[in-house]
């Protein structure tokens, strides 16, 4: 039971390429490495590739809409995290390394710091800790924009949540898989 990690090679014209029809042609979202061939599900991989950008955009929508509509940094961050969970389910641990160059704890730390510093910001304007303001202004193309200063707190929370989900994927997902793979290699 060895693990079959292999790079996708451009199939030669004359080779029987139909046997490798499901190897991704390019490294878009899913890295070319794949886990044990028998564990792959093409449907899930394809769905993940198609859905991933949409889910991320939706999570950003939730982040911005959060002030007076359902959403906010917390649910936005969770939804963004789910997009990565989907990728992890489809691509396995080898996919995670290609997703983000930032270590999840750093993401959590940056998010937390942004969120807390937002709490201090109102003091500069002579207001109380965590007080928020609403600015309305008109931009040429986008029309009227309503900016609630809470948004910055929400961005912090969004990053924090995303970091937590990625960290969970790293430790409980890839970490366990890596251990299992190491154990298998030892056995064989």
């Amino acid at each position: 039971m060895t693990e079959r990690d292999h790079r996708p090679e451009p199939a030669a014209e004359d080779s029987d390429s139909w046997t490798e029809w499901d190897v991704p042609a390019e490294r878009w979202l899913l890295s070319g490495y794949c886990r044990d061939q028998r564990e792959r599900t093409v449907l899930l991989e394809l769905a993940a590739r198609i859905v991933f950008p949409t889910v991320i955009v939706f999570s950003l929508y939730l982040l911005f809409a959060g002030h007076d509509h359902p959403g906010g940094g917390f649910s936005g961050g969770l939804v963004a995290g789910q997009a990565f969970v989907l990728r992890h389910l489809a691509g396995g641990r080898l996919d995670d390394s290609s997703t983000l160059s930032m270590r999840p704890p750093v993401l959590i730390g940056v998010g937390l710091t942004i969120a807390v510093l937002t709490g201090f910001a109102p003091l500069l304007f002579g207001e109380v800790v965590l007080e928020s303001d609403i600015y309305k202004f008109t931009l040429p193309v986008l029309g009227q924009i309503k900016l609630v200063t809470n948004l910055f707190l929400d961005i912090g929370v969004y990053l924090l949540l995303l970091g937590v989900v990625l960290d969970l994927l790293r430790t409980l997902g890839s970490g366990i898989e890596a251990n299992a793979a190491a154990a298998r290699r030892e056995q064989s």
């Binding site: 270590r103 959590i108 730390g109 710091t113 942004i114 807390v116 003091l123 109380v128 800790v129 928020s132």
Partner: protein
């Protein structure tokens, strides 16, 4: 001015975030942690002066008015405990930095310890300052979830087993806590403590008692009141010494604080509280007798911790200004002394390599400094003059005698007896550990885990931080006069909670 109230919560949180982001730079994390906790000490000292001179400082977070928004209240009681707690967290952080550098070298960074420890500090501060029941729950959750990480971090199977007991019991009590908040909200329509003080009084008597008792059980589990103490001696001794010190010093006392706050402000009693007196007596005696039966030094200290929770419950049971003054003094004394004892126990096991009292000996000769560091807090815990324990116990015993009821007399007698038992337990540790023939340190039974014992090495930082806490404990006794006066004023505030309500809900004190 109100910024002072927000700092003890927001500053450690911001530092925790930065500490995570700089996870690979050990020195940055260390300096950040020490500076922030140092600022916290200064901040709470200033806040104590302000609150004592000008009355409670109230921060309506985000400027949302009182019964609806989040309210932070810094009154005398909260700030006194905040000050003591921040001194203890500062010293413990110094100790664990010293320990880590000795064991793993200067460059060894720890991604989780510093951030989680700072989050724990933020949770403790929030618990003291929060002015509503739900926020108190949030504070407990912040505090407890970081404590789950700290107690189970890099653990072996035995430690995980002990940690699981702690985690499950704490989660269960949190579940009960959120349930009772729902019940209180359903009955009154508010969770703001000041608002609740007025609304709960309008409820039918039976409902008031029922809610009050559930709240008592919730905080009883958190503060290890007998018979809800069973989890403590099984879990605390298994964590590394600085972690146990901060848990034993702070977490149970935050439970006591919450109990004092809710039972005086929200579920106020009119007279001496017999049930609490009975629980106090049982807690003192069960804890002390349990301590005598132990051979493991940390388990013995844990049982003594349970036993001394009884003293604080005693003062709350007497339920008058004198009793509450005693409780406040006792909490202040106990936070420092109990944390110190666990730190010293950490120093001891580094020299002996074992926690079993029967296999130790001769440490007084091998390292007299540790003997001194142990003797002072031990005598203080037993209540020998002129240490802080004596001052606090004297206040409690006087309150018990002045109360003049037979139940108060009985508990006063029990308190004296427990004092003697504590002295006996301390004498046992002393004779076993420090006297006798000098023994070679045993090898670390589990060299893989975080608990390094038996190396015989102590960093100067570890000794200095323990010494710092011993000095604070002595300083408490020296400053007993002014401290007792402030505690008296804080207790008087608790008995007349109208001031608290007016200040929080808007209006002049």
């Amino acid at each position: 001015m109100t910024l002072l109230v927000a700092l003890p919560i927001l500053l450690p949180l911001a530092a925790a975030g930065l500490s995570l982001a700089f996870g690979r730079f050990a020195d940055v994390q260390r300096v950040l942690g020490m500076v922030v906790l140092g600022v916290l000490i200064v901040d709470s000292a200033v806040l104590l002066y302000v609150a004592d001179t000008f009355g409670p400082v109230v921060l309506q977070v985000g400027n949302w008015p009182a019964p609806f928004g989040i309210t932070l209240v810094a009154d005398r009681l909260a700030v006194l405990l905040l000050l003591v707690s921040s001194v203890v967290t500062f010293a413990v952080l110094l100790y664990s930095i010293g320990q880590r550098i000795t064991d793993y070298g200067r460059g060894a960074s720890s991604t989780t310890f510093h951030p989680i420890y700072l989050v724990l500090c933020a949770g403790v501060s929030l618990a003291y300052l929060s002015g509503d029941l739900f926020n108190l729950f949030v504070a407990f959750e912040i505090m407890l979830s970081s404590s789950y990480v700290l107690i189970n971090r890099r653990a072996t199977a035995t430690r995980i087993r002990a940690g699981m007991t702690y985690t499950i019991v704490s989660l269960t009590s949190s579940l009960l806590f959120i349930t009772v908040i729902a019940l209180v909200y359903a009955a009154t329509g508010t969770v703001n403590l000041a608002d609740l003080a007025q609304r709960v009084a309008e409820l039918p008597d039976g409902l008031q008692t029922a809610l009050g008792l559930i709240v008592l059980i919730v905080f009883g589990v958190k503060s290890a009141m007998v018979p809800l103490h069973f989890w403590l001696p099984d879990s605390y001794p298994n964590a590394p010494a600085p972690i146990t010190a901060v848990f034993a010093g702070l977490l149970t006392k935050v439970g006591i604080y919450a109990m004092i706050r809710t039972q005086t402000l929200v579920f106020a009693h009119n007279e001496s509280w017999r049930l609490m007196l009975a629980i106090a007596l049982i807690t003192m005696i069960v804890g002390a007798l349990g301590a005598l039966a132990q051979n493991d030094i940390n388990r013995m200290l844990s049982f003594l911790l349970v036993s001394h929770i009884g003293y604080m419950l005693f003062g709350l049971g007497v339920y008058d200004t004198a009793g509450l003054t005693g409780v406040i003094l006792y909490v202040i004394h106990h936070i420092t002394v109990q944390a110190t004892l666990f730190l010293v126990s950490g120093l001891i096991t580094r020299h002996t390599g074992t926690v079993a009292l029967s296999r130790m000996g001769g440490l007084a000769k091998a390292s007299p400094l540790i003997a001194v560091l142990f003797a002072l807090p031990a005598l203080s815990l037993a209540g020998i003059p002129p240490f802080s324990g004596f001052v606090a116990k004297l206040a409690l015993l006087q309150a018990g005698v002045e109360a003049g009821t037979w139940s108060a007399y009985a508990v006063t007698g029990g308190a004296v007896l427990t004092s003697l038992l504590t002295l006996y337990a301390m004498a046992r540790i002393w004779t076993r550990v420090f006297w006798g023939r000098v023994r070679k340190p045993e090898a670390d039974p589990d060299p893989e885990d975080e608990l390094v014992v038996g190396t015989g090495t102590t960093a100067r930082a570890m000794v200095i931080s323990t010494g710092l806490l011993v000095t604070v404990s002595v300083a408490i006794a020296v400053a007993a006069g002014p401290l007792a006066e402030i505690s008296g004023r804080a207790a008087a505030d608790l008995m007349r909670h109208e001031t608290y309500s007016t200040v929080v809900l808007g209006g002049d004190p």
